[in-house]
C-alpha cells in the first residue's frame, strides 16, 4: 500500500479503512452482535476464564492472594509430578485404558454394523438396533451402580459362580479385573450407538456394486470383504484418527465411580489423580500443573489427528 502523499482527502478514497469497516459493520449488524453478546460472555467467562487460571500451574496459588497475586515458582510443580512415585503408574494406566478402548471398543461398533447389515428381516434388525442403542442414554451412575450390584460378593454374578461350583470374587476390589470391566462396560454401553454412523455409511453404498459382484459369482463373504468394507473405509479411517486424538481423554467420571483405593494400582489415571489431589487434598497448583500436562497432550493428539484427517479426506473437526 502506498501512503497518501498527495492531497487526496479520506472521503475520496474508494477503499474504506479498517476503522471505517469496523464502524460500518457494527452499525449494520448491531442487533446480531447484541444477540451474540451472551454467547461471547459465556465463552469468555467459563471457557477462557479457566485458561487465564492456568497460570496457577506455575505459581504457588493461595486463595488469599488470588491467581494474579500468588508467587511464581516456574516449573516446580511439573518437576515434582514427573519425579513423583505416581507418575509412571498413572501414565501407564491412562495410556493402557485408552489403548484398550481403541483396540476393543472401536472395532466392536464396526463389527456390529457389518453383522446387522447381513440381517434380512427389517423388523429383527430394527429391534436389535433399538435395544443396543438404549444403554447410551442411561446415566453412567446407573450403569456403574448396576455393575457394582451385579458384581458384589452377594450379587448376581457371584450367585451364578457359586451355582456352578466356582469361587466367588470381589471383582471391583481386584486390580487385575479393572481394565477388563472398564473396557467391557464401555462396549456394552457404546457398541450399538457407535454402529449408527457405519450403518449410515453402508446404506449409502451403491446397490449396483453388489449386483455386479453377484453376477461375477461373488458370495456374501466376498461381497462384504470386497465391497462393504472398502466402501466404509473412509469413515473408519476418519473415526479411527479422531479416536486417536482423544486417546488420553478417558471417561474420568466413570473411573471415579468405579475405582477404589484397592484398585488404584490399575485404575488411577491422570484425570482421577487431578481430582483427588486438587479437589480433595486442595493442592491446587500441583494438580493444575498435572491437568495442564494432560490438556497439552490431548491438544497435541487432537491437533495432529485433525491434521491427518484433513490429509486423508475433506473431513475435519474444525
Amino acid at each position: 500500500m502506498q501512503p497518501h502523499k498527495t492531497v487526496a482527502t479520506p472521503h475520496a478514497s474508494y477503499k474504506p479503512s479498517f476503522r471505517q469497516r469496523v464502524v460500518k459493520d457494527f452499525r449494520r449488524n448491531a442487533m446480531i452482535y447484541l444477540m451474540l453478546l451472551p454467547v461471547i460472555a459465556f465463552y469468555g467467562v467459563f471457557h477462557y476464564g479457566p485458561m487465564y487460571g492456568i497460570q496457577m500451574a506455575f505459581k504457588n496459588f493461595s486463595a488469599g492472594l488470588g491467581i494474579a497475586g500468588s508467587p511464581w515458582v516456574g516449573f516446580e510443580h511439573f518437576q515434582n509430578f514427573f519425579s513423583s512415585f505416581f507418575f509412571e503408574r498413572i501414565i501407564v494406566n491412562t495410556v493402557l485404558l485408552g489403548l484398550y478402548d481403541l483396540i476393543f471398543v472401536f472395532p466392536a461398533s464396526i463389527i456390529l454394523a457389518l453383522l446387522l447389515n447381513e440381517v434380512r428381516s427389517r423388523i429383527f434388525k430394527r429391534t436389535v438396533q433399538s435395544i443396543t442403542y438404549l444403554p447410551h442414554f442411561i446415566s453412567i451412575v446407573v450403569v456403574i451402580g448396576m455393575m457394582v450390584d451385579f458384581l458384589s460378593m452377594d450379587g448376581l454374578i457371584n450367585q451364578l459362580i457359586r451355582f456352578f461350583g466356582g469361587e466367588p470374587l470381589s471383582f471391583l476390589r481386584l486390580p487385575e479385573w479393572f481394565r477388563f470391566l472398564y473396557t467391557s462396560s464401555a462396549v456394552w454401553q457404546g457398541v450399538g450407538w457407535g454402529s449408527i454412523i457405519y450403518l449410515a455409511a453402508i446404506a449409502n453404498i451403491d446397490p449396483s456394486l453388489y449386483e455386479a459382484a453377484r453376477v461375477d459369482g461373488a458370495g456374501r463373504l466376498r461381497q462384504v470383504l470386497s465391497i462393504t468394507i472398502p466402501s466404509i473405509m473412509p469413515t473408519i479411517i476418519i473415526l479411527f484418527i479422531l479416536r486417536i486424538g482423544s486417546l488420553m481423554a478417558l471417561q474420568d467420571e466413570k473411573i471415579l465411580l468405579m475405582y477404589n483405593p484397592m484398585t488404584y494400582e490399575t485404575a488411577d489415571v491422570i484425570g482421577t489423580y487431578v481430582y483427588r489431589k486438587g479437589v480433595l487434598e486442595a493442592s491446587y497448583s500441583f494438580s493444575a500443573a498435572v491437568g495442564l500436562f494432560n490438556s497439552l497432550i490431548n491438544f497435541a493428539l487432537l491437533f495432529s489427528a485433525n491434521y491427518m484427517s484433513k490429509r486423508f479426506s475433506d473431513t475435519k473437526l474444525m
Binding site: 476464564g49 446407573v142 456403574i144 487431578v274 494432560n294 485433525n306
Partner: protein, 293 residues
C-alpha cells in the same frame, strides 16, 4: 433369482441371528433384572439365587419407600429444576449463537467461531475451572449446575449447520417489512427449525438429567443435590443411611436390597419413556453432526 444358499451361508445367517439375539439379551437383561427385583417381595427376593426370570411375588413396597425418602424426593425435584431451567437456557443461548454465527457479512463472525471451536481442542482443566467457580461465588449454589453448562460447542455447531441450510430468500420478505434480526430468528428461523430444536431439547435434557460430576465438584449443601448424586450414594457408596431414612427396625435388611432397584427404576423411567423419541431424533442429530462441512 433362483438361488439356493450354500450350506455355509445358512450357517452364517443362523449364527449371526443367534449372536445378535444374545447381544440383545445381554444388553437388556440388566434392566429386566432390575425391574423384576424392584417389584419383588423383598423377603422372597433376598432368598432367591441366580437369574430372575419373573418377579418373586409382587410388591410395590420398595417404590413406596423410595417416594417417602426425603433425600430422593428432594433430589428428584432438584433434577427436574436443573433439567427445565438448564435446557431452557441452553436453547436460548444456542439459538442466539447459531443465528449470529450463521449470518454472512458479519465481520467478526469467523473470528468468534474460531475462538469458540478452539475451546473444543483445549480447555483450562478441572482445577482452574473449580477456582473460577470459587472466585465467582458460584460454589454451593444452583447456578453452579446451570451457568457453566449454558451451552455446548458441539450442539452450537449442529444448530448453526442447520440454520445455514435455510435459504436466505425465506427471510427476505420479513426483512423488507423492516423486521430486525431478533424477530427474523423468532418468526422465520425458529419455526423452520423445529426438528433441530427437538434434537436440542433431547440432547440437552438427557445431558442435564444424567449429569453428576459438576454437582460433586461444586455442591456441598445436600438440599441442592441432583438425583444422580443421591443415586451414587445409594448404589455405589452403599450409603444405606441416605436410603433407609424412614424405614423401621426389622424391615431394614431385606427392603434395602429391593429399594436399590426401585431407585434405579425411578431414576431411569423418564429416559425409558422418552426413548422412542430419543432414538428417532438422536440418530438424526448424530447424522447432522457427522456430515457437517
Amino acid at each position: 433369482m433362483n438361488y439356493t444358499k450354500p450350506w455355509s451361508e445358512r450357517m452364517f445367517d443362523l449364527s449371526n441371528i443367534f449372536f445378535l439375539i444374545a447381544l440383545s439379551v445381554v444388553t437388556l437383561y440388566p434392566f429386566v433384572y432390575v425391574l423384576f427385583a424392584s417389584i419383588s417381595e423383598s423377603s422372597a427376593f433376598v432368598q432367591h439365587r441366580g437369574i430372575l426370570l419373573w418377579p418373586k411375588g409382587f410388591s410395590l413396597a420398595s417404590y413406596k419407600m423410595v417416594f417417602q425418602n426425603p433425600n430422593i424426593v428432594t433430589s428428584y425435584i432438584n433434577t427436574i429444576f436443573y433439567v427445565l431451567v438448564g435446557t431452557t437456557l441452553n436453547l436460548i443461548m444456542t439459538a442466539l449463537g447459531a443465528y449470529g454465527l450463521s449470518r454472512r457479512n458479519v465481520m467478526w463472525g469467523t473470528t468468534i467461531m474460531i475462538l469458540i471451536v478452539l475451546t473444543m481442542f483445549f480447555d483450562g482443566g478441572l482445577i482452574p475451572k473449580y477456582i473460577l467457580m470459587l472466585n465467582l461465588g458460584l460454589l454451593d449454589s444452583r447456578w453452579a449446575l446451570i451457568l457453566p453448562s449454558a451451552m455446548t460447542t458441539w450442539n452450537l455447531i449442529i444448530m448453526r449447520t442447520s440454520f445455514q441450510a435455510i435459504p436466505p430468500a425465506l427471510e427476505e420478505s420479513a426483512r423488507i417489512d423492516g423486521a430486525n434480526d431478533f424477530s427474523i430468528l423468532m418468526r422465520v428461523i425458529v419455526p423452520l427449525s423445529m426438528p433441530v430444536i427437538a434434537v436440542m431439547v433431547l440432547f440437552y435434557g438427557v445431558w442435564h438429567w444424567n449429569k453428576w460430576f459438576d454437582a460433586l465438584l461444586y455442591l456441598r449443601n445436600r438440599d441442592l443435590f441432583p438425583l444422580q448424586l443421591i443415586l451414587r450414594e445409594i448404589l455405589i457408596q452403599n450409603n444405606t443411611d441416605s436410603m433407609m431414612t424412614g424405614v423401621g427396625g426389622g424391615d431394614r435388611m431385606p427392603v434395602a436390597e429391593t429399594i436399590k432397584y426401585a431407585t434405579i427404576m425411578v431414576a431411569t423411567l423418564p429416559i425409558l419413556f422418552l426413548y422412542p423419541f430419543l432414538q428417532k431424533y438422536f440418530v438424526k442429530g448424530v447424522m447432522i453432526g457427522a456430515i457437517k462441512e
